[in-house]
Symmetry: C2
DNA sequence: TCAAAGGCGTAATTTGTGTTACGGTTGCTT
DNA sequence: AAGCAACCGTAACACAAATTACGCCTTTGA
C-alpha cells in the first residue's frame, strides 16, 4: 500500500473511531464496530495500531498535533503579546471544549491504566503550557505583566479561561460552547488576568 | 431485616463498590465483583439498587449528602465571611479532588446516557454553588466584596480554587492533593478573588 | 505481466458481564 | 417455637467484545 493511501485509510478509520467514541463512549466502542464503519478489517486495525488502546492513543497524538499547529500559527502571526493572548484564547477554548477533545478525555477517564490520560496530558496541557509561557514572557519583557514564575502565571490564565468547564463537559452537563461564548469568556479571562498581574 | 442492619449492609456494599471503582474504573467494575467483595448476592444488589447504574447513583447521592453536611457545618460556625471562605475552601477542595469524588466523576464520564453526570452535577456543583453564594452575599453586605451577580462571583471563586484540577485528576495525571496543597491553593484563591472583587 | 504482500470480510476462540433464577440458610416477627 | 421473607452462594442465560486466524481478493513493485 502506498503511503498516501495508507494515510487516507488511517484518516477514515480514525474518523469512524471518533464517531463511535462520541456516540457510545470508550467502553461502548468496539474494534469490530470501528472496522465495520470504516470498511476495514479487524486484522488491519490490529496490525496498524497494536490494540484498542493503541488506536485511541493514535487519535490523541493526531489531535494534539493539530492543536499545537494551530497555536503555533497564532504565535507566529506576531503582534502585541496581550493581543496575541486575546486572539489565542478563544481558539484554545474551542479546541479544549470541542467534541473530539472531550470524547478523548472521556476515553482517558475510562482507561484504568492511566496510559491514555498520560498521552492526553503530554500532548495537551503539557504542550500548550510552554507555548503560553512564551507569550507571557514577552508580555513581561514589554512591561505589560508582572510575575515571578511563568509556569504559575500560565496556570492562572488557564484557571481563568478554562476553569472547570472541561469536567462539566466530560460528565455531560454542558453542551459544546459556541463561538460567542468562547469570545466572551476569553475577553473576561484576559481582563481578569491582567488585573491580577499588572 | 432490621433497618439498622440494612444500613450497615448497604454501607459495606457501597465501600466494596468504591474500592473496585477506584481500582478498575466503571467498566471494569462488575456487579458480580461487588457482590463477591461485599459477601452479598447479586440478587440482593439488584433488589436493593435496581441495576448497576442505580447502585452508582446511590453512591453519588450519599457522597453529596456528606459534602453538603460538611459545608453546612462550616457555614453555621459563623464568623467573618471572608474568613469562613478561607476555612471552607481547603475542605471543599479536598472533597472535590478526593479519590471517591474522582472515581464517581470517572464513572459519569464513562456513562453514555449522561444520567450519572446529571446526578453528580445536581448533587455536587449545583448544591455547592448556592451555599457559596450565601457566603459571598454576606461579604458583599459587609462591604468586603463588590460584584453584581452572585452566581458569577461564586463561579469565579471556583475557577480560582479548583481550576482544571478535577479533569487532571480524572485522567490520572495528578495524585490526590495533601492537606498542605489544599491550604496553599485556597489561600491563593481567596487572595486573588479578593483582589479582583474588592 | 507476475509474484508477493497485505487488506477485506468473515468466523472462531476465549473471557467476561448484566441480569435472572434457584435451593438452602438465616433473620425476623408473631 | 414456627412460619415466612429475604439473603447468600451458585449457576444459567443471552449477549458482547478483544484478539487471532483464514481464504480470497486487491494493490504494489519489480
Amino acid at each position: 500500500m502506498r503511503d498516501e493511501n495508507k494515510v487516507l485509510r488511517q484518516t477514515q478509520i480514525e474518523c469512524a473511531a471518533y464517531e463511535l467514541l462520541e456516540l457510545k463512549g470508550y467502553a461502548g466502542t468496539s474494534m469490530q464496530g470501528i472496522a465495520r464503519k470504516a470498511r476495514a478489517s479487524n486484522e488491519t486495525l490490529y496490525n496498524w495500531y497494536g490494540d484498542k488502546r493503541g488506536l485511541f492513543t493514535a487519535l490523541v497524538t493526531r489531535n494534539a498535533a493539530e492543536v499545537r499547529s494551530l497555536l503555533e500559527t497564532e504565535l507566529s502571526a506576531g503582534g502585541d503579546a496581550i493581543t496575541t493572548l486575546g486572539l489565542l484564547a478563544p481558539k484554545l477554548l474551542e479546541l479544549l471544549l470541542g467534541n473530539r477533545a472531550i470524547a478523548l478525555n472521556r476515553a482517558a477517564a475510562a482507561d484504568p491504566t492511566g496510559e491514555l490520560g498520560a498521552a492526553i496530558s503530554q500532548a495537551g496541557r503539557e504542550t500548550v503550557l510552554p507555548l503560553l509561557e512564551q507569550v507571557l514572557e514577552t508580555a513581561r519583557r514589554d512591561g505589560q505583566l508582572k510575575f515571578d514564575r511563568p509556569t504559575e502565571a500560565a496556570g492562572l490564565f488557564l484557571d481563568l479561561l478554562v476553569g472547570d468547564f472541561q469536567i462539566r463537559r466530560v460528565i455531560g452537563r454542558l453542551p459544546a460552547p459556541d463561538r460567542e461564548f468562547c469570545e466572551t469568556r476569553s475577553a473576561l479571562a484576559v481582563a481578569r488576568f491582567c488585573q491580577l498581574l499588572s
